[in-house]
């Protein structure tokens, strides 16, 4: 598994360096990779019963609980199949679809990267690693949405999706850390053991909310649903793959993964099912008034994701069964519908349903596949979607408290689904055309392969539902943590659920017939109801945030060097004062030892020199007296046998002098610019800072609670570091990492000066 994952990442890097002969077939060549993953997964998965789970752990940073753990169980099996299987089809499809795009390489690189991260995500058995891949999918998604970066809209949509998903990612990270704090481990297997402990912990609710924030943003739940329709700016293979079948399911995956850890509590039920229910309804409702094919599909995706979240929220055996099944169903029909939308766009030059029409004549095969997929979306027999919908209804009926609300939302959104599916099929394929930019013709096999396979699977599983239980059961039992058997059949007998289905379809269909009257009304309602558009609100928020930061920067980073210095000194003084006052008190009792006369003389000279610096009338005097102070310090170092420091001090002093000489000519005339008042203020600050520093030094004799570390260095310098000069051994051996940091900072400073001086000039 590790090898395949690595291969996937490597293949992304390999894309631009592929031999030229393969240029036309890059997508198909790359498709072999997910295909082999798919086959291997299938092979490994056969005989996988619910409770088996194999993990391989590689230690990475064990101190942080960060291990690379690959877990292969029912859930990762199912998702891995979806990711690799649909990935294969999408790559083959993309090979054709992206034929005439420039920068194909960039597309393939990112989609391979995405695929690899998604596989990593579903295989991770450690929450931290899972988070790593989670973020990777966000980033690759950003690059894929902004693929047509020449367009303002694409860039905006990409940035929006990135900001939202990464914001959620940050929250998720917080949640993960909280969970880790509660359980003392990030391994999901350990977390499951400690599930009870976590749920009764007082940090459970904050952690749950943070994790849900991650899920909600990633899986485009209300009120963050708006980034998903925006993300339709991406090329269609991306929309089909990332924004319907896989990436947005990462949130769902996380819900499923953490269900055994966090689920089952009232908080979980209420929060998750409420968010899901609302999203389900709103998404379906909003899809009605769209005219762009991809936008319609995007909103129905939002709705479907809401359904899945809702089902995980209900958290009964039936609902989990329904959820897992629905994940498959949705991946099948939505990916194929997206691919078909892409084909139609490709052939006719438009995605606007008001312009499209009568496509069944030129594209009979596409029409058949599309209508089968739409049947599945509407939840009609004989497709798999029907079974899914029945299960969902069944799950909803079983909820004790909020069944009625859920039923209304559920039936309502399903009615909308039926309605929108019929409308979509009718308007694109049957209705009279409104004038298409290009005359359509049938699609080639490479493009049709994806929808064909997926629709066929959907039909096959619909007719022989028993055959799918091998894929669904392990996942369900992984989530439920007990062996589960699923009995699926197309015909459930005449019961409440079937009645609801019939009602749904009938209402949906009649609404479709009445659409000419209803849709305009809906549009009016929408424009009144949604005068505040979430996307705009979000954009404004971001813009406001940026301008706030600008203002804040202007206040804090005002650019006056003297005030920076003043801030530093005042803040340091106040802090020292506070600390001393509250912890130690003022009394300083230090045994004063008499120092040799030359030390006293030196100190007096230095004090005099610094006074002269402060009141000097010419710049040269100031510089020279500063030099006296510096060299005096060097002498003090020498007297107290810190030779290395003394040498460094002398050299630094010399360099400073050279720099001053360089600057001297260029500076304005030395003038007294500051007023009397500000000079007095400066003097007060200087005296205060100086005296507090003195007190601090005096005090510091007493604060050595621990044994000084210097003894260790002195003792170990020769045996451990083979050097007699302790200072140097500390610098290059004991604390070499510090030195490395220091020289790195120095280098950065040097490049900073260089770029400030030189680049500024270039601009002019």
């Amino acid at each position: 598994m590790t090898i395949l994952l690595l291969l996937s990442f490597l293949s992304a890097i390999w894309v631009p360096y592929m031999p030229k002969i393969l240029n036309k077939y890059k997508g198909s060549v790359l498709a072999s990779l997910p295909l082999s993953v798919f086959i291997l997964t299938l092979a490994r998965g056969t005989g996988l019963t619910g409770m088996t789970s194999t993990s391989t752990t590689y230690e990475w940073i064990p101190q942080l609980g960060l291990n690379i753990t690959w877990t292969f169980d029912g859930l990762s099996y199912l998702f891995l199949l979806l990711v690799s299987g649909i990935g294969t089809l999408i790559l083959i499809y993309a090979n054709e679809y992206m034929k005439h795009y420039p920068d194909k390489d960039r597309f393939y690189t990112f989609i391979m990267l995405f695929m690899a991260s998604m596989m990593g995500l579903v295989l991770s058995g450690n929450l931290l690693v899972l988070f790593l891949f989670w973020e990777l999918t966000s980033f690759t998604s950003f690059f894929l949405i902004s693929f047509k970066h020449e367009y303002e809209k694409a860039r905006q949509a990409a940035l929006q999706s990135l900001l939202i998903t990464v914001m959620g990612g940050l929250a998720l990270f917080g949640g993960i850390i909280l969970i880790g704090q509660m359980a003392g481990s990030f391994e999901i297997a350990d977390l499951m053991e400690k599930s009870g402990e976590i749920k009764s912990h007082r940090l459970y609710v904050p952690a749950l909310i943070l994790v849900l924030a991650g899920v909600v943003t990633k899986s485009a739940q209300f009120p963050f649903h708006f980034w998903l329709p925006g993300a339709m700016q991406a090329p269609t293979p991306v929309s089909a793959y990332l924004h319907s079948a896989t990436m947005v399911k990462a949130g769902i995956f996380l819900l499923a993964r953490l269900n055994p850890v966090l689920g089952g509590t009232p908080q979980w039920m209420i929060l998750v099912s409420l968010i899901g229910g609302l999203t389900m309804f709103i998404g379906a409702y909003l899809s009605l008034t769209q005219t762009d094919l991809k936008a319609i599909l995007a909103y129905t995706t939002v709705s479907s994701l809401g359904t899945m979240v809702l089902l995980f929220g209900i958290d009964t055996q039936a609902s989990i069964e329904a959820a897992v099944l629905f994940i498959i169903i949705h991946a099948f029909y939505k990916a194929s519908l997206f691919m078909i939308a892409g084909m139609i766009d490709h052939k006719t030059g438009t995605r606007d349903v008001t312009l499209l029409g009568e496509l069944w004549k030129p594209m009979p095969k596409t029409f058949i596949f599309a209508s089968l997929a739409l049947l599945s979306m509407a939840g009609l027999p004989p497709m798999l979607g029907f079974i899914g919908k029945e299960l969902i209804y069944e799950a909803k009926i079983q909820v004790p408290d909020i069944a009625i609300i859920l039923m209304i939302l559920g039936v309502g959104s399903n009615i909308f689904m039926v309605w929108v599916s019929t409308m979509l099929g009718y308007r694109t394929f049957i209705e009279k055309a409104g004038g298409m930019p290009k005359p359509p013709n049938e699609n080639g096999w490479r493009m049709l392969l994806g929808p064909f396979v997926l629709v066929l699977l959907s039909l096959f599983f619909g007719l022989y539902p028993a055959s799918i239980s091998g894929f669904v059961e392990p996942a369900i039992s992984t989530i439920l943590r007990e062996p589960a058997t699923v009995y699926l059949s197309l015909w459930h007998g005449f019961n409440q659920v079937l009645l609801l289905s019939i009602l749904t379809v009938a209402t949906g269909f009649s609404l479709f017939l009445l659409r000419k009257k209803i849709i305009p009304v809906l549009k009016k309602i929408n424009s009144a109801l949604f005068s505040i558009r979430f996307a705009d609100v979000f954009n404004k928020l971001i813009i406001g945030f940026v301008s706030l930061s600008k203002k804040k920067t202007a206040v804090i980073q005002h650019g006056y060097h003297r005030f920076y210095l003043m801030t530093i000194f005042v803040a340091a003084t106040v802090l020292i004062w506070f600390q001393i006052y509250y912890t130690r008190g003022w009394n300083v009792d230090v045994e004063y030892t008499r120092q040799p006369y030359y030390v006293i003389a030196l100190v007096i000279i230095m004090m005099g020199a610094s006074l002269i610096t402060a009141i000097a009338k010419s710049r040269l005097t100031a510089i020279i007296s500063m030099g006296v102070v510096g060299l005096g310090i060097a002498l003090l170092y020498l007297i107290y046998s810190a030779v290395d420091l003394a040498i460094t001090q002398i050299l630094a002093e010399t360099l400073t002098l050279v720099l001053f000489v360089l600057v001297l000519q260029k500076l304005p005339r030395f003038a007294r610019l500051s007023s009397r008042k500000s000079r007095i203020r400066d003097a007060i600050i200087a005296v205060a800072a100086g005296s507090f520093m003195t007190i601090l030094v005096l005090k510091s004799f007493h604060v050595n609670y621990n044994h000084p570390i210097s003894d260790f260095y002195v003792r170990n310098s020769l045996p451990g570091g083979f050097g007699e000069n302790v200072v140097n051994v500390i610098l290059v051996d004991f604390r070499a990492l510090d030195t490395l940091g220091e020289i790195t900072v120095l280098s950065i400073a040097a490049f900073g000066v260089y770029s400030l001086v030189k680049l500024n000039k270039l601009k002019k």
């Binding site: 050279v658 007699e724 140097n728 610098l731 490395l740 020289i743 280098s747 260089y754």
Partner: protein, 141 residues
């Protein structure tokens, strides 16, 4: 500030500064000195030339860009960390090789020496970058 005395004395001063900077660097482990001080001294040699003649002549004598010095210095410091990692010790742990010389003298070579040489180059490069940049900016004559 071009005086003929400085210009004539330059080759000797430069030699002395660089020579002693290298000595300072290598004696650093047992006596006062080391990469930081050595680097400062070495940069002094080139600053002196820049003051006596001009930046261009100093650059010519240096033969390379200060940024190259910085980069290679940092690289050396980082390279010195590798043997420690390979032997499974914490990052930057010193590794020593003892080469027996005549009589009972042994030459001890270790990664800290490489590290110190890295510091030497980095410091020299950083100082020179400061000085050159500023001198060129102000067209120091």
């Amino acid at each position: 500030m071009k005086t003929i005395i400085l210009q004539m004395a330059l080759p000797y001063i430069r030699f002395i500064l660089i020579f002693f900077s290298v000595i300072t660097l290598f004696r650093g482990h047992n006596f006062p000195g080391g990469g930081f001080i050595g680097g400062l001294m070495a940069s002094g040699a080139f600053i002196f030339q820049a003051l006596a003649w001009d930046v261009n002549s100093s650059r010519k004598t240096l033969r390379t860009q200060p940024s190259v010095l910085i980069g290679s210095g940092l690289m050396m410091a980082l390279l010195s960390a590798i043997p420690g990692i390979l032997t499974g010790k914490p990052f930057l742990t010193g590794t020593w090789v003892k080469i027996p010389l005549f009589a009972d003298h042994t030459l001890k070579l270790g990664t800290p020496l490489l590290f110190d040489i890295g510091v030497y180059f980095t410091v020299a490069g950083v100082v020179l970058m400061f000085i050159y940049t500023l001198m060129e900016e102000w067209q120091w004559k």
